[in-house]
Symmetry: C2
Subunit: 95 residues, 2 copies
DNA sequence: GCAATATTTAGATACTTGTCTAAATATCTG
DNA sequence: CAGATATTTAGACAAGTATCTAAATATTGC
């Protein structure tokens, strides 16, 4: 997991909203974009950032490009955060 | 949890390193800064961002200002991420 | 109160980034 | 192939941010 890329990707609210939309299943760029008041070009930029962080995967289906969530990276990120705080039994320093 | 502030705070590598240093226990600004090749002013800016996100707490101890980790926010963030991905038994859509 | 130490604030600068418009690329259909 | 639709790329611009130096504020100890 490219930590820096992932955190940077997650830092933008539009991108988090995109990921949220993808929880319901894979969607084409256009289907995702329908929910946002933003040009397709801007959305495409956000897709690119999410792809760099490996948070989404793409697959062409005819004229559409379909995006899907790569939950592995989200999972890794969550684990990393859990490991980051103390007070966890057996991990962080307690005193 | 102010999600946006937290994600923004986590997006900078210096700030993540600061949080990491604090896992070992509370430290003064100067003690934290000793590990970074950066002016105290720059560090102070990062502290400010971390405070805004409520990721750290401060307490004055004489001439020092002591920073400590607020693990609650990290925990909340981790939970939020876990909730964000599907495939979790009982939460995300599976198909 | 003064000098020394610790930290923050103010102001400046360079870099990054989110957004836009316009143009390019890819696919489908007649 | 030509036109329509879907998406990305290129280039520009405004806003945000990480960093610095210099100065301000707070505390301690003489």
């Amino acid at each position: 997991m490219k930590q820096q890329a992932v955190f940077k990707a997650m830092a933008d609210p539009t991108r988090r909203a995109i990921l949220k939309r993808l929880q319901g299943g894979a969607l084409s760029a256009g289907e995702i974009g329908a929910a946002f008041d933003m040009t397709a070009a801007s959305l495409s930029h956000h897709f690119s950032v999410l792809k760099q962080a490996d948070l989404v995967r793409t697959e062409r289906q005819g004229q559409f490009i379909v995006y899907s969530l790569n939950s592995t990276v989200l999972e890794d990120l969550a684990r990393m955060l859990f490991d980051m705080f103390p007070g966890k039994p057996g991990a962080g320093p307690k005193a």
